[in-house]
Amino acid sequence: MFSTLAPILLQATGETLYMVAVSLTIATAFGLPLGVLLATSGRGELFEALWFQRVFGPLVNATRSVPFIILAVAIIPFTRFVVGTSIGTSAAIVPLTVAAIPFIARIIEGAMREVDGGLIEAAQAMGARPVQVVTKVLLPEALPGIIHGLTLTAVTLIGYSAMVGAVGAGGLGDLGIRYGYQRFRPDVMAAVVITLIVVVQVVQSFGDYLARKADKRNI
């Protein structure tokens, strides 16, 4: 039995990791600048731009208030526009990315706001330009928090990717639903659950390791 199960389990794990890795990467590319601007555009801050707060704050909140499964279905037209189809692993990357961007933006914003304001003042006193304050002070100092946050996002995305399995995306969630649930194969279901637990453990441990390495506050 294991010999027949192993290849499909392996393939499903590969699909899940692919969806999570790609959506995490794209979402970070958008979420990082968004988070930086959310953290620095308030009143009296480096890039004061209150309109930005007023537009993107609520937008981020709105995206985060929609339950993921509803978001995934609601943006099907957009998904179709971007990848040409709404079914399959690549199509699943679109809703995963859309859901992860505001999540990452808030995490980056939070981590940056944790940085002691005295450091910003010190950098300005040294003659740092606003962009330099971000690149030389805020981001390096917030790095441990950012890594923790991205790890959290990756774990959340693994969960979400199992949900998009329900709308035909492949991956471990899809395997569990089709074989484990619909074909009454508790062994497949158990294998899927155990694999998910292992994957999450590995991702979390790796993230914790990186965050610890980046954190020089307690040596």
């Binding site: 002691d116 003659g127 980046a214």
Partner: protein, 275 residues
């Protein structure tokens, strides 16, 4: 070197707080190479005053002239360039936890776009000057409060400034470390001929370090003059009470129990852990 003329700083009324006048027509002249102390209690406006010199705070009115330029007229583009001519040292050190001692000291040069070779050339001689040769590749978390402040001083000196602004630099340190840091600053003043502005609430700091002192109360300089003169004949009530504190500290120093000094000491340890 530095001239403050009729400097006024008013914080606009916000929800929950009325308009607040932090500085009331401040006039202060600081000659090149001089160490001037600005002393006062919390809320007297001394931190605002020092921040008006490097424009971390923008004066509401009046002018601030540094080395012949009225710096209140500088554009946003020129302001960072001007600030690179001034070094600033802080009460809570404000070191980057993610950078080693060397890289912290190198930061102002990095910001100015210096090459690796230029940075090494400027930073390497500073390490022995502040007595941290053996801590070059350590992180701030591995240092004591006094060592952190030495890094802060070296960092302020790395861009070769003409002026050093010191904001309560010994207030988070114990008495022994305070003495060492004050000696170091005095030594730097002699060797490099730097102009220094020293903010403090302790008369002992003024006595150990400064040539001249301005006493502040409620946003006004109430008394100003050579340090010996002020100590010998304090005229204003604020000066007298600050001097009285010093005498109390001195007396309490002989008994090891709960003294004001011990309190400063504890807060220093807490600050050290944060950094």
């Amino acid at each position: 070197m530095i001239r403050l003329s009729n400097v006024q700083k008013t914080y606009a009324a916000r929800r929950g707080s009325d308009e607040h006048v932090a500085l009331h027509g401040i006039n202060l002249d600081i000659a090149a190479g001089e160490i001037v102390g600005v002393i006062g209690r919390s809320g007297a406006g001394k931190s605002t005053l020092i921040r008006c010199i490097n424009l971390l705070e923008t004066p509401t009115s009046g002018s601030v002239t540094v080395d012949g330029t009225d710096v209140t007229t500088l554009s946003k583009r020129d302001l960072p360039l001007f600030r690179r001519q001034l070094g600033m040292v802080f009460q809570h050190f404000n070191l980057l936890s993610s950078r080693t001692v060397f890289d912290n000291i190198a930061l102002p040069l990095e910001l100015a776009g210096a090459t690796k070779a230029e940075i090494a050339k400027a930073v390497d001689p500073l390490l022995p000057l502040v007595g941290l040769e053996d801590k070059r590749d350590r992180y701030p978390a591995e240092l004591s409060g006094g060592q952190k402040q030495r890094v802060g001083i070296a960092r302020a000196l790395s861009s070769n400034p003409k002026v050093l602004l010191c904001d309560e630099v010994t207030s988070a340190l114990d008495p022994e470390t305070t003495r060492q840091i004050l000696t170091l600053l005095k030594d730097i003043n002699k060797r490099l001929g730097l102009t220094m502005v020293v903010i403090t609430h302790e008369m002992a700091v003024v006595k150990a370090l400064c040539d001249r002192v301005a006493v502040m109360d409620a946003g006004v300089i109430v008394e100003e003059g050579a340090v010996e003169g002020i100590f010998a004949d304090p005229k204003h009530a604020t000066t007298q009470s600050l001097l009285a504190d010093e005498f109390m500290d001195f007396r309490a120093g002989s008994d090891a129990n709960s003294t004001p000094k011990t309190n400063t000491n504890t807060s220093g340890v807490a600050a050290g852990q944060e950094g």
